[in-house]
Symmetry: C2
Subunit: 547 residues, 2 copies
């Protein structure tokens, strides 16, 4: 049997658009000789609809659209959707995350997702009733065993600690499945590729069954899906692989255990760069925008964001805005100009100095002769935020904000100032990785001025300010932050492991916790690490725990 | 047996402070002749710690503090905390939401919460392993049956639809429990009091057992807990009741079925007003602030917020800031002055006109002769946001933002402008209820100027602007919003039910959905309705569902 792994880029709630893509890809798959097309998790409504799932009309639309699709689809296909369930006792949730096999004009078979993740960005128990059993379905010469995303992430040979009591894969194998199909909406994170492959390989080898994994592609708010769907032979070898971050179809033949392999970027930094480009493009486009603007400070953060914007949307859709203030260095101003020229984007400069002066004058009575402090720094940052939003409002373009994860973690950023914007492109990228991205962007020619990369980072909000006046060097800070935020280590463990000063680590940890209030009002950011700030890390503000 | 219902106001993560309160209240209860003190859910660490629960050090601190408390507590007490569990197979979550009976210097008995809510603001499946069984504990002449919060919300006689398969209350009664104790952290919402009482009454009557319900009091970020702990006789009559929104102890005697009843505000609007005062006071104080500032526009929203601030923190801790602009009416300016005088708060006026002029001049090249539009309106709002934040930064006081739920719902507010602030006091209060609060505040004397209440609402950001230029009358809008957001009705159902124009309802529903991007960056707001915007209503931004 020839199976087409069909990965596409759905939009949440765009039933007509998603259906049209499914029909078009199924036609392509048929033309190429496939017997079955497999699509990704919840692809009919788009993954992940969140509280849209609470609306009966949204579920009704899922049901209706599936029925229509079943009548029209030119090839037997497995499609993910959100559908109604009725449990025997009328208790529990009323909907489930389902895989439907459309065949012969109807829904021939359905499998409900059994394992519902409730960690990091996932809260599927909020919405779905889990499956109470797994079934297999005889199709052509095979016995299809279908699982949905998390269902395949609980193998007891692969994981030291299992999260769930049941293993749906073992259950379908026990029922005679000859081919293991998994439909996923599994967000990209750094270094997940290797883990995912090893896990799938373990499952194939353990059960001596081919494994077919079909993953969503594209951006959905903060989440980025890399696609990279694949088929593994019963020996655990890679037999088919779709492209990363692009819609794609590849075929796998269960009889010959052979398939097509499409190229993917090899270097992790190249893969991450593609992820950020995908996430930016899809957020901007799916929100209905064509154009974006970026404040260009001459620093590396805004340079990387502008480069990603150009790669995502085209130079003609990106405006660079320089907003020099009283403490902006000539070097920074020159670097901003040079960057815009290298990227081929439109560029304007709107100084903030006069407006800043008028604020200071207006606030004289309110400030009661208090000395100059962080208040004046924030005023400058907020004038810039106001400029960018004014241009955004005037021309209907989206502001991309430019803060990185390291500064967001410790609160080295201004609410409503540099934090203002529709999308925080690199808010989950640690500062050292921003430099890595800059070097990757410059791999063939100097796009980001070398001086931008080489100079000491500075907010330039007071005379001779440097990031290192307030923060440890990023080589130290980024290690502490990763260990504290992603690995959930204690300050003592971090200090011991890296040989850092315990007080320093404790101070940083406390800064992270105490700055949650800023992050609660941050623009949505693209998630690329195992733990991003935002909805996948709910954290109290008014709390007094000393880490 | 005499049971003390001991409700107090914990702070998340403040183990030393929470323990000290528990010890002090247990001593009071002992002095008053109690045999047992009952405290609320997770009171040792404060409800609700969110992802602090993922930190092993936070759980370790719970365990340690409980042990120390057991050694020191002067009276047998039931205390809620987050503790470790080990399941037989090592799977599932590693912690549970527990009630511990401290007695004789040790933890004599523990009951784990069985029903874990995953809806609205609750996501306890993310953290906790549920109980697999209920037990009872013989204490004095009683068999204690202990449940935790949600455990008591699944009675099949009370609810038409049960969320869960099991009923922990029925299970402890089956095991011989003679008294039903429930420890809760159950957030206040409008009209919940009556429902809660009826539910507890149903349970008491059905099982013919006294019911003792102990609830947290105080604010925790967006959530407000009203306390109002109570004991019901086996016949379902109210026998003991603690105060609302205050720390309190009341006693109930299981032998005589008698107890103390403390007064609560009767009117729902008075109760809601107390809720908002409590939430504001605790958010500000628990964040470490003493003082707040409020932008006074002369409108009813800011007048109500300033009144709540004064009632929460004292007039001496509230600064009113008038920021008149080119379109501010003389009436509004006068009303702001009058309000500040009536409240006895400090007042300053900082006009925005000069700063606005300097923005317009600076943006001439960027705006390319485009006509004046919403961009210029937002600039004014954002100058005001910048002023307030500058004063906040300069003096270490917190900005209270003043937007109401109706405008937040439809996006009739400016990101980084009037939305700026540390706490959005009335962001879950519909506009018509803001007027109700204003009239309640004025019940004895004119605090809020009558002209503020009587004039047509306006943002005053362009000449002769009125809210009704852009929005339907609030009598219509608020009904649509409640039905759409809280009751999750479709536009068709709403139009049919109220006889509203379907197109109007659809337009409003779409406005609500499409403005999620603004709410994602809103300040935390106090929840008082059954469904507030924010973390209890996760909703996608880049989506295309037509409601």
């Amino acid at each position: 049997m020839k199976i087409a792994l069909a990965q596409f880029n759905p939009t949440v709630g765009d039933f007509a658009g998603n259906s049209a893509r499914i029909l078009s890809l199924a036609a392509q798959a048929k033309q190429r000789g496939a017997d079955l097309a497999v699509f990704s998790e919840l692809c009919l409504c788009g993954y992940f609809p969140q509280d849209l799932l609470e609306r009966p009309a949204f579920i009704e639309r899922n049901q209706q659209e599936l029925k229509e699709l079943a009548g029209k689809i030119p090839l037997p296909s497995i499609v993910g959707y959100a559908g109604r369930v009725t449990s025997g006792n009328g208790r529990g949730k009323s909907i489930a995350n389902k895989a439907a096999l459309l065949c012969g004009g109807r829904v021939a078979f359905e499998q409900i997702k059994m394992l519902l993740p409730t960690y990091d960005v996932f809260d599927e128990s909020r919405y779905f009733q889990p499956a109470d059993h797994q079934s297999v379905y005889a199709f052509h010469e095979e016995q299809l065993g279908i699982t949905v995303c998390e269902d395949i992430w609980n193998d007891k040979n692969f994981w030291a600690n299992q999260l769930y009591d049941r293993d749906p894969v073992a259950e379908i194998v026990g029922k005679g499945s000859t081919v293991l199909l998994n439909i996923s909406g599994s967000p990209y994170t750094l270094d997940k590729r290797a883990l995912r492959f090893e896990m799938l390989r373990t499952i194939a080898q353990k059960h001596t069954r081919p494994v077919i994994y079909v993953n969503q592609v594209g951006g959905d708010d903060s989440l980025i899906f890399d696609g990279a769907s694949m088929a593994l032979t019963a020996e655990g070898n890679l037999a088919a692989q779709a492209a990363a971050f692009e819609e794609d179809i590849v075929l796998f033949d269960t009889a010959t255990q052979k398939g097509e392999i499409h190229e993917q970027p090899q270097e992790e930094i190249a893969y991450a760069y593609r992820a950020l480009i995908t996430g930016t493009r899809d957020y901007v486009r799916k929100c209905g925008f064509q154009k974006v603007l970026v404040g260009l400070s001459g620093g590396v953060d805004s340079a990387v964001v502008a480069s990603i914007a150009v790669a995502s949307l085209g130079a003609e859709n990106v405006l660079g805005v320089s907003m020099p203030g009283p403490f902006s260095s000539q070097g920074s101003k020159d670097d901003a100009v040079k960057l815009a020229k290298n990227l081929g984007i439109r560029f304007i400069s709107i100084p903030i100095t006069q407006v800043f002066e008028s604020y200071k004058q207006a606030l004289v009575p309110a400030f009661e002769n208090r000395p100059v402090d962080v208040a004046e720094e924030n005023i400058q940052a907020r004038i810039r935020g106001n400029y960018l939003m004014a241009i955004s409002n005037k021309f209907g373009s989206m502001v991309l904000s430019t803060g990185n994860k390291s500064e967001l973690a410790v609160g080295y950023c201004t609410l409503y100032g540099d934090m203002a914007g529709g999308l925080a492109v690199i808010s989950d990228v640690p500062k050292l990785m921003v430099y890595e991205l800059a070097r990757w962007i410059n791999r063939e020619r100097e796009v980001i001025p070398r001086s931008t990369i080489e100079k000491a980072p500075s907010a330039e909000l007071r005379p001779n300010q440097k990031d290192e006046d307030s923060l440890p060097p990023y080589e130290v800070l980024d290690r502490i932050l990763k260990a504290y935020i992603e690995e959930v280590k204690t300050p003592q463990e971090i200090a011991d492991h890296y040989g850092f000063d315990l007080k320093l680590v404790r101070d940083i940890a406390l800064l992270v916790d105490r700055n949650e209030y800023k992050r609660k009002q941050a623009a949505p950011g693209l998630k690329i690490t195992s733990r991003a700030f935002g909805f996948g890390r709910p954290f109290p503000i008014a709390q007094k725990f000393i880490p």
